[in-house]
C-alpha cells in the first residue's frame, strides 16, 4: 500500500510542479521575436540614414561643397567646427516631442555623430550615440560604429556597421540588440547624385543577436542582403534566418523590392506568418 501511495504522490508532484508543456508564449506564436528583430534593424538603420543625409550634404563632412539642412523636423543641426579639422562632431537635435518629419515619422531628442575624417574617405570611423532620442514611440540607446572600408572589387563603397549595447524601449518593449554587419552602397553614389540621398541603395549583410521583450535570446543571420532603398523608409527586400533557442527555425523575408511597407513574412516550414513592424 505504501509504495502505491508514494507512487501516486510522486506522480501528483511531478505533474503539478514539474510539467514541461510549452505555452504559446514559449513557442513565440505571436511572431514577437521577428517583429522585434525587424524593429531593431529599422530604428538603427534609420538613425544611420539621418546621419548619412546630413553628411552627404555638408561640405565639412563630405566633398560635395553643399551645406544644407535636410529635414523640417530638425530643430538644430550643426558640426562642431567650421574648418575641416577632424575629429568633427555632428549634432542633430530634433527638439521636443511634436516633430513630425518629412517622411511622416516622429523623431525627438538628439543624435550625435563623431567623424574621424571625411565621410567618404576610406578608414573614416563614424561613432553615433543617442541622447534621449526617440523614433516614434521607441527610445533608442546604444553606440553605432560605422567604418568606411573603401571600395570593393566591384567599385562599390563598403562600410562596416557595428551596433554595441543597442537598447530599444517603449510600451511593452524592451529589446537588447547588437549586430555586426557590412553595408554596400550599390546605387546612388555618383558625383552628380551625391546630394540626392533618396536614390541611394545599400545592401546589408551580417549577423545580429539580442534578447526580446520577454527575455528570450535570438540570433538573426542575413542570408540574402537586406535592401535599404532610401526612397523607402523600410527594407524592401532581403531574407534572414532567425534562431531562437529550442524553437523551430524561422526565415524572415522583406519582399521583392517592389513594395514599400512595414511588413515582412516569417516562414516556419510550410507556415507563413505576417509580421508588422511597429512605429
Amino acid at each position: 500500500m505504501r509504495p502505491l501511495l508514494f507512487f501516486l504522490l510522486s506522480l501528483f508532484i511531478s505533474t503539478t510542479f514539474s510539467s514541461c508543456g510549452e505555452t504559446e508564449r514559449d513557442q513565440d506564436l505571436e511572431t514577437l521575436t521577428a517583429r522585434e528583430v525587424a524593429l531593431s534593424y529599422h530604428v538603427f538603420d534609420d538613425a544611420l540614414r539621418e546621419v548619412h543625409r546630413f553628411a552627404m550634404r555638408d561640405s565639412l563632412l563630405n566633398d560635395t561643397g553643399i551645406v544644407q539642412r535636410f529635414n523640417s523636423c530638425i530643430e538644430d543641426a550643426y558640426v562642431s567646427d567650421t574648418v575641416a579639422v577632424f575629429p568633427l562632431y555632428l549634432t542633430i537635435n530634433y527638439g521636443g516631442d511634436t516633430n513630425i518629419c518629412d517622411d511622416g515619422f516622429n523623431r525627438f531628442g538628439v543624435i550625435r555623430a563623431a567623424f574621424s575624417g571625411k565621410y567618404l574617405n576610406k578608414s573614416t570611423v563614424v561613432t553615433v550615440t543617442f541622447d534621449e532620442y526617440y523614433k516614434d514611440q521607441f527610445r533608442i540607446d546604444g553606440t553605432v560604429i560605422l567604418t568606411n572600408l573603401g571600395l570593393n572589387s566591384d567599385g562599390y563603397m563598403m562600410f562596416d556597421w557595428e551596433v554595441i549595447d543597442g537598447h530599444i524601449t517603449g510600451i511593452n518593449t524592451n529589446i537588447t540588440w547588437e549586430g555586426e554587419h557590412e553595408k554596400t552602397w550599390v546605387a546612388g553614389r555618383s558625383f552628380e547624385s551625391q546630394s540626392n540621398v533618396d536614390d541611394d541603395i545599400f545592401h546589408i549583410e551580417g549577423i545580429s543577436k539580442g534578447r526580446n521583450s520577454r527575455g528570450n535570446t535570438f540570433e538573426n543571420e542575413i542570408t540574402n542582403p537586406y535592401v535599404a532603398d532610401y526612397s523607402c523608409q523600410w527594407f524592401t527586400a532581403g531574407t534572414s534566418s532567425l534562431d531562437i533557442p529550442n524553437l523551430e527555425a524561422r526565415r524572415l523575408n522583406f519582399g521583392l523590392t517592389t513594395e514599400c511597407d512595414n511588413l515582412l513574412i516569417e516562414r516556419r516550414n510550410n507556415t507563413y506568418l505576417e509580421v508588422e513592424i511597429p512605429y
Binding site: 519582399g255 515582412l264 513574412i265
Partner: protein
C-alpha cells in the same frame, strides 16, 4: 524535380487585367518572394513585360522567359522557345522545385504536369481578362499555409493553400 504553379486567384478565377493585378496585397507578394526565392521561375513573355522594368528580372531567383519571338531580348534572363525547354533548363541546373508564375496561357499548358500548386485565394470578384485554369481539387490534397484579413493596406482577405497532387 518538383514542378509547381504559383498564383493569386480571385473567386471568379481572375488573375489579371490589362497586364496588371486587379488587387494590391503586399503580404501575398512577400509570400511569393519567400516561396520562390532561390528557385527557377518560368513565365510567359507578357507576364515578364507586366513586371515594372525597375523590378525585373525578379531578383534572387533565375528567371526563364518563354517566348517564340526570336528577337526578344532582356538582360539577365534565360529565354526559352517552349515551356518544356524551360523546365529542362531548370532540371539541367539541378533545380529541386521549379515555379511556373504565369500568365494564364502558361498555367493552362502546365497544370497537367504540375506536382504542386500554390494558390492565394482572394476574396474578390474583379473584372479581368486573364484567368487561372479550372482544376479538379479531388485530385489534390490541400494545406492552408497563410491567411490574411482585410486591413489598411489589404483591401481583400485571402487564404493561401498548397495543393499537392495525389499519387
Amino acid at each position: 524535380m518538383i514542378i509547381s504553379l504559383i498564383a493569386a486567384v480571385a473567386a471568379n478565377n481572375v488573375i489579371g487585367v490589362k497586364g496588371d493585378l486587379p488587387w494590391h496585397l503586399p503580404v501575398d507578394l512577400k509570400f511569393f518572394s519567400e516561396t520562390t526565392k532561390g528557385h527557377f521561375v518560368i513565365m510567359g513573355r507578357k507576364n515578364f513585360d507586366s513586371i515594372p522594368e525597375k523590378y525585373r528580372p525578379l531578383p534572387g531567383r533565375p528567371n526563364i522567359v518563354v517566348t517564340r519571338n526570336k528577337d526578344f531580348n532582356a538582360t539577365n534572363v534565360t529565354v526559352c522557345a517552349s515551356i518544356e525547354a524551360g523546365i529542362e533548363h531548370a532540371k539541367n541546373h539541378h533545380e529541386s522545385e521549379v515555379f511556373i508564375i504565369g500568365g494564364g496561357d502558361i498555367y493552362r499548358q502546365t497544370i497537367g504536369i504540375a506536382d504542386k500548386i500554390y494558390i492565394t485565394h482572394i476574396d474578390a470578384h474583379p473584372e479581368g481578362d486573364t484567368y487561372f485554369p479550372e482544376f479538379n481539387k479531388d485530385e489534390w490534397t490541400s494545406e492552408l499555409i497563410l491567411e490574411k484579413g482585410v486591413d489598411d493596406v489589404h483591401n481583400h482577405a485571402f487564404t493561401t493553400f498548397v495543393y499537392t497532387r495525389k499519387s
